[in-house]
Symmetry: C2
Subunit: 384 residues, 2 copies
């Protein structure tokens, strides 16, 4: 298959690209290095010493003998998007190419507008390019579980059957996104659904939980193939950040009461889920939503787990409850469905003590690279 | 009250501005003349000989002795929006300032992206300006009934109580928007709801039906005060376009089977509804949705009504079913709730034969200005 990875230089895009390449697919990546630029802007950096995209591609060629094509450019530029789609003629487009951070989108108006513009316009350009130049291509789009928020009912996978006043319909699941970033993903979902309904496009929207982990089968082959690993307050996700805090002797910063419960998954399972979606494409006209996570954790339980495993490794880990800089429910009901990927064959890698220990040990190897400045929470949902 | 009208030079914005002014409010208008530019782009023109905004404001001063301030600029420019909000310090912001045409948004990718950028970014800028500079201002935003599409259940006003697997929550009503324009309004709704939930803003989202009519109490005072009236395939709404077609002896172009049913309202009732929303503001933190229409019509019934009334006036009117250039259900269930504005005191002006006759007669007075070129449907939802 010809597979185009948008955002192929990112935390998940890069391991996805080399995974598909290793399976024998014809892979091309697109990136504008937005995420690297964000880290520079924030004074943060990847824990792992990631190489430039060009060096990575060379390393992959040397390690595997396989070629990955690359296109450097911006998805908000329609002529660039057309050029790529015309040149690659993809069977599947895996779309990670968005601004991925909720706190970043909440820094101020400029960052909020930039996030929505980048994500929404980029995806619109991709939809039109697929419609006009590769209408049979399957768009596999990374959404987020955060699109749903925390309603008081079970969350279904994208759609819900509603009985109302004696009639019934299956309709998009209502959304309560919690940041300007999450809103941009909700907008994307509506735009993509429209493209499927009106133009007969085929798409799978992967509403992903919080990803943790640092290594995949292919990134382990050689140090130059490692993926980025962020741990700062803006770009780092909860478990990754906690493990880094444990290693440097910084208290684990739990926001508020810590009852915020989310779906989590190992980076290995992200790659697996995306592969399952690509190998089992949506039908023409079908807009399919999978909830992509393997288990639920509250932030509090996650911190306690890191504290305990850290203790086993001889690290004295403390947990500090800090005022929640976000505006969100600190205790809530949370029971989202996530059976569709399991039905396609997903075999979850759950968060065992061994996984946490291994993550901590990997971070210890890069301990001298850790920057303390950008870890503490600064970005508030309401700065007034 | 200090009332700021965004899009105050438009079909509805202008009559709204002079209505609030006539009631003794302190009114300011904002416009970037997007709609006039769109007509120029399309080779279309208002049936009525509208004056420039400056001439209108002068005419209003001469007729009423009242002053309306004006700000010429673009809502996608954050510094302009801040300047206006800081200068006016509004109690209410009535937001019509968006690209208002579904067909325009479907012309091609450029128009689709421009529509979503203009509408979404403009509204984001307004939300941040209100948050930071006038947090108690009540945002009255014009949405559209088209955000809901045509689900197979009764449409509620913005929110629906869902019972699901033994639990229950009241959640945003699921959306099935039918064009890039309608999508932009759905995105706005989510963004505004977020602003109310997270920052405690107060907003009323008026999901408006199709507006018809040409005259309000204030526009009737003097010819220079008339509002624009569009009848072309891109900017004209169904009844307005049918009446113009009747006058020029052009068949009424019913799209497909004509069973498309929508909510309609007289322009007089638009003004009345907006006044009711402004006079009865949402609470801080409240995001309120009103479905703003007074009666349901199918396109087919509307055409037959114009045909019959035209006949009574001695005009031979024919109806022609043309292939639907849109992709939409041509027969469907449609029963949206619309009680909240009635509860606030709305007294509907229904579509009687007299109203249709009066509309036709007004159009006849301007018959020599009608341009035939832009009437026939050209913009297709799927141009492939």
């Amino acid at each position: 298959m010809k597979i185009l990875i948008l955002g192929g230089d990112g935390y998940l895009g890069w391991p996805t690209a080399i995974h598909f390449s290793s399976l024998g697919h014809d892979v091309a990546v697109v990136d504008n290095f937005l995420r690297r630029g964000m880290a520079t802007e924030l004074g943060a950096d990847s824990l792992t010493p990631i190489r430039s995209l060009h060096e990575r591609l060379t390393a992959w060629r040397e390690v595997s003998g396989l070629e990955i094509a690359s296109f450097i450019g911006d998805l908000t530029d329609p002529s660039f998007v057309d050029l790529v789609i015309r040149e690659v003629r993809p069977d599947a487009v895996v779309h990670y190419g968005e601004q991925p951070s909720a706190p970043y989108s909440m820094i101020d108006r400029k960052h909020a507008v930039a996030t929505q513009r980048n994500n929404v316009e980029g995806t619109l350009n991709v939809l039109f390019a697929i419609r006009d130049l590769a209408p049979d291509a399957h768009l596999v789009k990374l959404g987020t579980m955060g699109e749903y928020g925390t309603p008081n009912i079970d969350i279904e996978e994208g759609f819900i059957e509603i009985d109302h006043k004696g009639r019934s319909d299956t309709l998009p699941f209502p959304k309560l996104p919690g940041s300007m970033y999450h809103l941009s993903k909700v907008h994307d979902s509506h735009n993509i659904h429209f493209g499927c309904r009106i133009w007969g496009l085929r798409s799978t929207d992967l509403n992903q939980g919080v990803v943790y982990g640092i290594r995949t089968e292919e990134t382990e082959l050689e140090e130059r193939l490692c993926t980025r690993f962020d741990y700062d307050e803006v770009l780092g996700t909860a478990l990754n950040r906690f493990c880094v805090q444990a290693v440097v002797g910084y208290p684990l910063t739990v926001y508020g009461r810590g009852g915020q419960t989310r779906g989590f998954l190992n980076i290995i399972d992200t790659i697996q889920c995306v592969r399952l979606a690509v190998e089992n494409p949506a039908e023409p006209g079908e807009y399919r939503v999978f909830n992509q996570f393997t288990e639920r954790w509250s932030v509090r339980d996650l911190a306690e787990r890191v504290q305990r495993v850290g203790g086993d490794l001889g690290i004295n880990v403390t947990v500090e409850k800090v005022a929640d800089p976000r505006i969100e429910a600190e205790e809530h009901y949370y029971n989202p469905s996530h059976t569709k990927l399991l039905e396609l064959g997903l075999r979850p890698h759950l968060l065992t003590d061994d996984v946490v220990a291994h993550l901590i040990e990997t971070i210890q190897r890069h301990k001298d690279r850790i920057l303390l400045g950008p870890i503490a929470p600064k970005t508030r949902w309401d700065p007034r």
